[in-house]
Symmetry: C2
Subunit: 405 residues, 2 copies
């Protein structure tokens, strides 16, 4: 049995690294706080005698040997980076629960057949450097390392330079370190488990997700002396796109569509915006529906730009196909939850996860626990100590079940 | 006759202070570059033997004595700060043309009856610290000094601290230094003079201008796992307000209405915006129409917030009534343009100017020269050397005409 208090203490201890006054965490990937929490994790792994390897994009892999020679590792983990308005559980829970599993086995003197591995993926959130799940994406071969290194944040700092700066560029090639299976515990980030009073979500897969960068260009001009009919207002065009994305998403059951990020130039009170850049985020469990939505967005953008006299550039920056998780891994989660006595429900993830990329390389699944109001990417994100412990216990049982098969 | 080449050289020399690669100037008020251009101006005034006084909000006044005792000064001037995407003429021309007038009189050994005064107003643009025309506004008693000092830019730096930092907080109380009349030369910032092939605009007044700060608050949440019907997307509400402001302005002949500035929180690719702040800029030559527009904006904001489930805060941050300039000053401009042989046209200013606040205290008017395409607040802002010289010549003649009356 895992130690619920030790797990909670670790959660609260790391929550201070990048902690914000409103109870959240702002621990952007490859920031100084990210370095601090990585140093902390490394120290905990050292204390357990694990072997730590860091790859060339900063993904961290800590291995505990198994009893039998030649078996691939069973991995657990998630990510320690957060959103600028992040909470204390998104990502962190999956890493610290994996650590708790290893601590529990250590204390019990239990040795698995296969090696166990704890993973911390770089830049899952995609908030500072888009796209999201970049570390696991490069590891899985979806993006190459140079693409990743060149991604820039709003201040122009690149992923590569920031990784070098915090000293977490490892020697291992991305993808050189592999495992035989992967279990990721995560908060649901949606409202279903809480609403139905279910303790554990048995995750069947992840909806597909496409990100686009849209730039609308008009003419910066004076707000006072430029008559309405002479304007080429890039923000007016973008307002129509924001409204249109919302309408398109609502027209497809189970779809979501959002613009969460805008960069306005020059963003001055008395200048008509000359250029506006946005990220468009479209998601649905079916690629067919995503194709339809994408075509509608194309048309929307063309119409909005034309009506306002703007030029536009619309580029896809990431595309994750809908993911179906491995039946064997799912069976182990189901068995683990049963052994631990928790209520379960099958569920599809609305959020993207590193497990999506892992699933393309090795048998993978996820375990969800509830979060209050389905809220995440918000400092008020809340999962109770008992709920965290339930997730960690099911993770332990699932890994042991998988190891026994 | 003013020296056209000397004027142009001064324009090009100061354009290097905060100059941008695209040919514009980004010389935000109270920045290091603002300090540099102020130091430059002070040195030029010293060379002419003028007496420089700086008031407590950084407004600069350089005086050249008149021949007769006891007469109030005739002022010329404008501002040296620019937009982040500013051009080489907006504001700068009015100050440097005033300087050119003083240099010309000096070279000619001509002494006016009244003293002459050259003025550089602080924070005309209002881009870094809203509202615009803050220095002249405090000088005129429209805002008090504490209000000004507390205005903050996006990084949280205040007007007061920034003024102290560049060392331009003078001893004189704001408003203690007065003058008997004021002439401000400026580029039109609109398309009319160019379209009609007119060389000089005889400015009759300035349209009224009201600025509001709008904050819409919803809930930051995950873009992937938050179903459309559970969202409170602050940016969706703001998109409707942007569209509505455009519609309201277009419904009133001669009105303009714009949102040029947005601050989005958290502004992350995969977070539904929880809060968005905007500046709304409404203008019209009639206060009655502005009242109507304001009422419509009130209703627009209430409806947009309610439809999306947001709370809102709408605050007026500045209000400048429509201004009618002084007939005597206008007559001097007309006489000056005639003496110099330029074509003229009466015109109303679409942009706000320090002359609006000056007009509440002393007889005031403005002189406009054309700018290519009516473009300003844009690096491509362009007024030809001959057009600048025409403006400066009319300024000289108008001041001498007014002095003779
Ligand atoms: N789980 C999570 O928040 N991932 C970030 C990537 C995304 O789904 O936007
Ligand atoms: N002239 C000028 O651009 N003034 C700035 C204030 C305004 O927005 O009108």
């Amino acid at each position: 049995t895992i130690d619920a208090e030790r797990l909670w203490d670790s959660l609260m201890e790391t929550a201070r690294i990048g902690g914000t006054p409103d109870g959240g965490i702002a621990r952007l990937t490859l920031s100084d706080d990210d370095r601090r929490v990585r140093d902390w994790l490394r120290a905990q792994c050292d204390a357990l005698g694990l072997t730590m390897t860091v790859d060339e994009v900063g993904n961290m892999f800590a291995t505990r040997p198994g009893a039998r020679e030649g078996l691939p590792a069973i991995a657990m983990g998630s990510h320690l980076d957060t959103q600028p308005t992040g909470g204390k559980f998104d990502g962190v829970l999956g890493v610290l629960a994996g650590l708790e599993v290893l601590r529990t086995l250590d204390a019990a003197g239990y040795r698995t057949e296969a090696p166990l591995m704890l993973v911390n993926w770089t830049n899952e959130e995609g908030s500072r450097f888009s796209p999201a799940m970049l570390g696991s994406g490069i590891w899985a071969g979806v993006y190459d390392r140079n693409y990743g290194d060149a991604r820039a944040d709003v201040s122009g700092d690149t992923f590569g330079a920031s990784l070098d700066r915090i000293g977490y560029r490892g020697e291992a090639k991305a993808g050189a370190i592999r495992f035989g299976a992967m279990f990721e515990l995560h908060i649901e980030q949606g409202p279903i488990l809480e609403a139905e009073g279910i303790e554990v979500g048995v995750v069947q897969g992840i909806q597909g997700m496409r990100w686009f960068e849209l730039t609308l260009t008009g003419t910066a001009a004076h707000t006072g002396s430029t008559p309405m009919h002479m304007r080429r207002n890039a923000l007016l065009g973008m307002a129509r796109v924001i409204e249109g994305i919302d309408r398109i998403a609502k027209a497809h059951p189970d779809a979501v569509g959002t613009i969460g990020f805008l960069e306005i130039s020059p963003n001055s009170h008395n200048v008509i915006p000359g250029e506006v850049r946005a990220t468009i985020d479209l998601r649905h469990p079916s690629d067919v529906v995503l194709d339809q939505m994408q075509a509608q967005v194309d048309e929307l953008v063309r119409n909005a730009a034309e009506a306002v006299g703007l030029t536009h550039r619309l580029e896809q920056i990431s595309r994750t196909a809908p993911v179906v998780f491995d039946p064997e891994c799912i069976a182990s989660v189901r068995a683990g939850a049963k052994a631990a006595g928790y209520s379960t429900r099958d569920i599809i993830s609305g959020a993207g996860h590193d497990a999506a990329h892992a699933a393309a390389v090795a048998p993978t699944t996820m375990i969800f626990v509830p979060c209050a109001g389905g809220l995440s990417h918000n400092p008020a994100e809340s999962t109770l100590p008992g709920e965290c412990a339930a997730g960690a216990q099911v993770l332990l049982e699932a890994v042991l079940d998988y190891d026994r098969r």
